[in-house]
């Protein structure tokens, strides 16, 4: 896998791609780095102005370069998600998590003892459970 550099300067192995609309990926990875210093585990991918074929090509190239087997995307219907589904078609050693949020990625970057694909599945559950609703109905509810 490729090496990135953490906020503290240590070499960090890239473990996943984060892709989405606008600056979603870089923003989310930046937030992970601010909170944990582990943002270098994540490769942000933005796709402004690209057609579907070029989005697929870009994400595929990042996967090949880095050797990662995990893709996080922002939206179930998004172009990056569509591209990732095409890339992962028939692949049983890689995983796509669509609808990623910050709690998902925070859990993922701390799960270094797990294989990235397993860590991704685990983090998806944590991210789902981390959505809460608080307000007029009283109390705090998990969405």
């Amino acid at each position: 896998m490729s090496d990135g550099q953490s906020a503290g300067g240590a070499k960090v192995e890239a473990r996943a791609i984060v892709a989405g609309h606008g600056d979603f990926a870089s923003g989310l990875v930046s937030a992970v780095d601010v909170i944990t210093g582990r943002g270098a585990q994540l490769i942000p991918v933005a796709v402004p102005g690209l057609c579907a074929e070029d989005i697929e090509k870009l994400i595929r190239e990042r996967m090949v370069e880095s050797g990662v087997k995990v893709i996080f995307t922002d939206l179930q219907a998004g172009s990056c998600t569509m591209a990732a589904r095409r890339i992962l078609r028939g692949a049983d050693d890689a995983v796509l998590i669509a609808g990623v949020n910050l709690p998902t990625l925070l859990d993922f970057v701390f799960a270094e003892q797990m294989a990235p694909v397993d860590a991704a599945r685990h983090s998806a559950e944590r991210g789902r459970a981390a959505i809460t609703v608080a307000g007029a109905a009283g109390g705090v509810k998990h969405a």
């Binding site: 609309h21 402004p48 102005g49 690209l50 057609c51 579907a52 070029d54 939206l75 179930q76 219907a77 998004g78 172009s79 998600t81 569509m82 589904r85 095409r86 078609r89």
Partner: protein, 161 residues
């Protein structure tokens, strides 16, 4: 007529279509016209997964769409007609009476020139759009509902860049 948008978008079903347009227009079905997708169950499943459960997606090749468009126009629900390229929409204009076109996303490809952030066209595509406009088709570019619709003349003249 309940087709509320006739859109050319090479990404086909994606966030702008499903969420950006779909929610404010209360869209309940997408009519995706593409010969390649209509011939592939795997492609259809891929795009169906991108739509929310309350939104139906129908896949037709161009010939079938020409025959069946009246039925979808008579549907009481709001729908989006979606093609991935200008040539497909052109056939629907010529043979099924489409009178308005939304250019939603025609992205960079070799031989194309950038006209807007999300519209790139080659000479043949520009000619095709001019010919459609000359037939009276109203053509504007607008990626999302909150954006200003940009008339074809402004796109091709470079005023809109």
């Amino acid at each position: 007529m309940t087709l509320v948008l006739n859109r050319i978008d090479d990404r086909l079903i994606h966030g702008q279509v499903v969420v950006g347009w779909g929610q404010p227009l209360d869209v309940r079905f997408i009519l995706l016209v593409d010969d390649g997708v209509a011939a592939s169950e795997w492609e259809q499943e891929l795009y169906r997964m991108g739509a929310p459960p309350e939104m139906d997606v129908y896949f037709l090749n161009v010939s079938a769409a020409i025959d069946e468009l009246p039925r979808y126009r008579a549907d009481s629900r709001h729908g989006i007609l979606l093609t991935g390229d200008i040539g497909t929409m052109r056939r629907l204009v010529e043979e099924a009476g489409i009178s308005t076109i939304n250019l939603g996303g025609i992205h960079h490809r070799a031989g194309r020139t950038q006209r807007l952030r999300y519209v790139f066209l080659n000479e043949d595509e520009e000619t095709a759009l001019r010919e459609l406009a000359a037939r009276g088709v109203a053509i504007t570019a607008q990626d999302v509902p909150g954006a200003r619709p940009i008339p074809l003349d402004d796109i091709l003249s470079g005023v809109a860049r």
